[in-house]
């Protein structure tokens, strides 16, 4: 993918609270980002810096206040109907609560295939069987989300995004809500898919993992891209003192 972001601004209305007037909060402040041709883009940076807000815009879930975004030269639309059509061509996985709790893992996988992409139930079942087997989730397919571990839930969520054959996946801190022992299985799955050419835009706090899978890294803070670059250079020779300090804190044992 070749991503160009120019002058992206996102402001949210905020309600009045103790010591704060009602008004607009600027979360993205004229953010620019040009990646060149990359397979996996990782967004890192401090909490509240704007990386999740950026991801939501890239995934077609939110419309920015102003600015332009284009993937491979195609600008993102601003009207909801066109955005919905766009969302159907990509996949998004959030930190938690991705799966619909009233449906089994299998029905969670089938729902977008049947209701969004128009497959028959039989065709949808054929489509998901291989991926379920491959990621050792077939034995859990009949379970409701409440009966699955956190890691299994996130892997099913990633599969649900994947089986519609999207152009790329957007992952917003997919392991942040997991116990350490379950992070590995999710990260391993992402790494494996990445190795096969699935494109990712990934927000993560797992610096060791970011270093492993990223082609390009962007450091987002204060609503801007403070630094960016090819992964190896970015991690080995952090371009800014602020980035260096952040990486040292994050990679410290």
């Amino acid at each position: 993918m070749n991503l160009v972001v120019a002058g992206l601004v996102q402001r949210f209305p905020v309600a009045a609270a103790a010591g704060r007037h009602a008004g607009l909060a600027t979360v993205l402040d004229h953010l620019d980002l040009v990646t060149g041709e990359v397979g996996t883009l990782v967004l890192v940076g401090p909490s509240g810096g704007g990386k999740s807000t950026l991801l939501r815009i890239l995934a077609g879930l939110d419309v920015p206040t102003s600015g332009r975004v284009a993937f491979d030269g195609v600008p993102l639309p601003r009207d909801e109907a066109s955005l919905r059509a766009y969302r159907r061509t990509v996949g998004t996985v959030f930190q938690a609560y991705n799966l619909f709790p009233h449906l089994s893992a299998l029905d969670n996988l089938l729902l977008p295939l049947i209701h969004v992409h128009g497959l028959t139930r039989a065709a949808a079942l054929t489509r998901v069987r291989g991926p379920l087997d491959r990621f050792h989730l077939a034995d859990h397919a009949h379970k409701r989300p409440a009966e699955l571990s956190g890691g299994q839930k996130q892997r099913i969520a990633i599969l649900r995004a994947l089986v519609v054959q999207p152009r790329r996946l957007f992952l917003d801190e997919p392991t942040s809500a997991l116990d350490p022992e379950m992070r590995g299985e999710v990260l391993e799955m992402i790494g494996e898919l990445r190795g096969e050419g699935t494109q990712f835009v990934l927000v993560t706090h797992e610096m060791a993992f970011a270093r492993q899978v990223a082609d390009a890294v962007a450091f987002v803070a204060d609503g801007r891209v403070i630094a960016q670059g090819a992964a190896a250079a970015f991690f080995d020779h952090p371009p800014e003192p602020r980035v260096r300090a952040f990486l040292e804190r994050s990679l410290a044992p």
Binding site: R87, F94, Y97, F100, P101, H102, H115, V116, A146, V164
Partner: protein, 245 residues
């Protein structure tokens, strides 16, 4: 202990206690006078069944519409919904029935008291339903709506496939309680001279002076409606059970 046995034992103990209380009161039973009016009881009961079914269905529709107002995000619509809910919940059903029948219905020219009765009951119960539905919808995490949008569902699909199945499950126990209340509240329709079950009992009592014999069948007749309703709700709850996760 199996559940049915527990139910049977508890029911027997309650029945025994009530029978003992009646026996000690030394009441002179006169069932034969009341038996002569069994046809009247049956007719009243059937009217209550019909009124209840109509009002149940209408109150769910009214409640859904009012919940939509409450959650519309538009100040004027929200204020409308809020005013309706608070006005209805803050005033006695008796007053609403009298105003509805003698003032509103006359003003708009509706003469059928059964229509008025069902409409007032539905509006009354709908206000409670609205809050129950709103609570059920509010209980669904925002991430669920995000996920629904992320996979490309339309707003209508999201409501039908994601939101409602969860909200119904959450709201079901409260809805069942409200429906049971509605069946019993229909007894107030007697004040606008609808010949339902309670009015039948009142009339039989006036004819026979056999108060307990007139009103005991009333209790049993309402239980015959409310117990299956509660049972149905519990069955549905079990069928729809899943844990949040």
């Amino acid at each position: 202990m199996p559940r049915w046995l527990a139910h049977t034992i508890v029911a027997a103990v309650f029945a025994g206690a009530i029978a003992a209380a009646f026996w000690r009161a030394g009441y002179a039973w006169n069932w034969s006078a009341v038996w002569d009016y069994r046809q009247k009881f049956l007719q009243g009961w059937l009217v209550t069944v019909a009124l209840s079914i109509a009002a149940l269905a209408a109150s769910i529709a009214v409640g859904a519409a009012a919940a939509a107002l409450l959650r519309s995000g538009r100040p004027l619509l929200e204020a409308t919904g809020r005013t309706y809910v608070e006005l209805i919940r803050g005033t006695p059903l008796l007053v609403q029935l009298l105003i509805g029948f003698y003032v509103v219905a006359s003003a708009v020219g509706i003469e059928n008291r059964y229509v008025v009765g069902v409409a007032v009951l539905a509006l009354f119960s709908g206000a409670y339903m609205a809050e129950i539905f709103r609570g059920g919808l509010d209980a669904i995490p925002r991430a669920q709506l995000d996920s629904a949008r992320a996979i490309g569902l339309t707003p209508w699909q999201s409501l039908r496939l994601v939101v409602l199945p969860q909200a119904v499950r959450i709201a079901l126990p409260a809805v069942a309680g409200q429906l049971v209340s509605l069946v019993k509240d229909s007894s107030l329709l007697s004040v606008i001279a609808i010949s339902e079950f309670t009015l039948a009992a009142q009339e039989v009592n006036a004819f026979t002076y056999s108060t307990l014999e007139s009103y005991l069948p009333l209790a049993i007749g309402y239980l015959a409606l409310t117990l299956p309703l509660s049972g149905l709700a519990r069955w549905l709850e079990r069928r729809l059970r899943y844990d949040a996760g």
